[in-house]
Amino acid sequence: MEALSVQKVNKVYDKTVQALQDITFEIREGELFGLVGPDGAGKSTLFNILTTLLLPDSGEIRILGMDLINDYKLVRQEIGYLPGTFSLYPDLSVKENLDFFAVMYKSNIEENMDLIRPIWRQIEPFSKRKAGKLSGGMKQKLALCCALIHRPRILFLDEPTTGVDPVSRKEFWEILQTIKTQGITVLVSTPYMDEATLCDRIALIQNGKILGIDTPQSIIQHFKGTLYTFRSADIFSLLKALEDCPLQCNYYPYGEYCHIAFYEDMETAMPQFLQFLEEQGQEHGEIKPIQPSIEDCFIEIVKMHRHE
């Protein structure tokens, strides 16, 4: 059975801003599903709808077999939500916050302690501290405890790692994997492409539209171009020069490198490309073929959708 089924959901803000457009996807029970997209893609809007805080303009959503819009009261008991911004009571202590949300869900801390214990252990030493005085990572762990305290069947995490340091991010994803092993379905959104590979399946979202849904491996396998990477002394002038490149290609800066995906037969294309660079007077490092990352795939998919 699908834990979550979203069919043709639309949302327009102020009659003009199309925040979500025909969003359709399904999440299987026990899946760790990632919603990957840049800021402003519509991730938070979708989360607000799925957590019963916002009504969609049209579309049908079923959560664990319940109709989200009509049975929202029942749905609320079964879902946990970690919003994008810290929203616990800063003037209540760690323990008081947890207590409060446990009771709000008609549960208690002891009942589901085994579920949150690995996370709780890390914040327990600060249980008397005010939540507002915790460090960013600790706040996030407390919020996660509060969202899990009633043992939800689906957990929604809206950009849980945005603004979190790399070590804590890694730790947080490990926690998500353990939550998954407890049989809880997880929907997590992130603007970081590298995190996408840690999900079972991901949906790429841009401008309120889902551009593709698949496992990260499959998305990478379906990369259509042949990807190369190389360094350049002056990346700006290189990108400018590439505008005149006669070959079918897609190029973009990638850190201090330039990534270029060719949609040509490389046997003939590569000599042409090298010649082109020489004519343009572009100095460059070694041009190496590489495996595409999720980010490369995302860029390719966005590009293709733009051409359509």
């Binding site: 957590t51 609320r76 919003p83 008081e96 709000m104």
Partner: protein, 374 residues
């Protein structure tokens, strides 16, 4: 039940951890009580007076001397120049000018009509009214004496037109203004706690996002609102009792009527104000907006309630608006029970109206509170 209890517990924890709010709750009533009744005092202590004497007779001298006997009047001498007197009035040196015409004594002895002109600075209307009243009183008193002494028997019709003997009691010696203003402050206090603090509290939850976190829980909106209301209702009642205590200890004003009745009606009034506070917070997005709406309503409520200006003097349309003003009904109740010692029968109407308002406002608050936005 457990849900509501933890909401109440949470609210009290937050109130007691907020040093600013706590000090506002305790210090604000003290300060209001200690300062306001002493400032908002309509009692006139000093009236500066100057005389223009065109007659210079013994009668005018006698009248002028009779002002010396008064504690209130401070005479600024006798001058003969009207321009000079007007200048003094203009520069706030004097509040009142008394001008005696030529041949005043002669006319008086002959029983002819004569007039004394009293000019008052009416920027402060209360002061002018009281000043003119006092002046008339003193001159009138002298005239009475004068007539008896000089056996000038005049019939009522012949009484000189402007030496009028009517005694106008602009200021009632028996009426202590503090008795009115202090219970009024009590009303303001309860209103502030009920409406202001509640509205700001709920809208703050909106600002920091905790309300969303609460909204995704299965809790019902009425549970949430009740959990919010009870703590502030208790705080409001505590504040009211504190106010009654200060009223008794500092001003010696004891509640003349039944205290349980007073508390009962206050409880209902607080419900109206709490509901209004919630309603305001659900239509505003941040504390600033909420504050402006509360302030806007609060000023209208206070000005129409009859605390500063008597409602009797208001035009009819203002009376109609006042039917929507819960504060005016509550003010009426407070005046009746605290000062007059009225029983339930005489505040029955107000109690019923406040109860209806409480039901309506709170229904509106629950309906306007959005768990899910569109």
């Amino acid at each position: 039940m457990r849900t509501i209890l933890i909401l109440i517990k949470k609210e009290f924890l937050q109130v007691f951890r907020n040093p600013l709010l706590l000090s506002i709750l305790i210090v604000a009533p003290m300060v209001q009580f200690m300062i306001f009744p002493f400032c908002a005092d309509y009692e006139i202590k000093v009236l500066d007076i100057v005389f223009i004497d065109h007659d210079g007779s013994s009668v005018t001298q006698d009248i002028i001397h009779s002002f010396d006997a008064s504690d209130i009047f401070v005479p600024h001498g006798i001058i003969h120049n009207k321009k000079e007197a007007n200048r003094m009035l203009k520069h706030d040196k004097v509040d009142i000018i008394v001008e005696f015409p030529n041949h005043f004594e002669q006319d008086l002895m002959n029983g002819n009509a004569t007039r004394i002109a009293i000019t008052a600075n009416a920027i402060n209307t209360t002061k002018a009214g009281i000043g003119v009243g006092y002046t008339q009183e003193i001159i009138g008193g002298y005239m009475q004496e004068f007539k008896e002494k000089n056996m000038v028997y005049t019939s009522a019709e012949e009484t000189p037109a402007n030496v009028n003997l009517s005694y106008i009691y602009w200021y009632n010696e028996q009426m202590n203004y503090k008795n009115l203003i202090v219970p009024g402050i009590l009303v303001i206090l309860v209103t502030l706690i009920g409406c202001y603090v509640t509205a700001l509290n709920l809208v703050r939850e909106k600002e920091i996002g905790t309300i969303e976190q609460v909204n995704v829980t299965p809790i019902r909106r009425w549970q949430f609102l009740i959990g919010k209301m009870i703590p502030f209702w208790i705080l409001g009642m505590a504040e009211f009792i504190l106010g009654i205590g200060i009223m008794k200890l500092v001003f010696g004003i004891t509640v003349q009527g039944s205290i349980p009745l007073l508390l009962g009606i206050t409880a209902i009034y607080l419900l109206v104000m709490l509901g209004l506070g919630f309603f305001i917070s659900s239509v505003s997005e941040n504390q600033l907006q909420a504050m402006f709406i509360v302030l806007f309503l609060f000023i209208i409520f206070v000005l129409l309630s009859g605390l500063f200006t008597p409602t009797e003097g208001m035009p009819k349309w203002a009376h109609h608006i006042n039917y929507l003003n819960p504060m005016s009904f509550y003010m009426e109740v407070i005046k009746k029970i605290v000062l007059k010692g009225s029983t339930f029968i005489s505040v029955q109407k107000e109690t019923i109206i406040l109860s209806v308002m409480a039901v309506l406002v709170n229904t509106g608050a629950i309906l306007s509170y959005q768990e899910t936005s569109k």
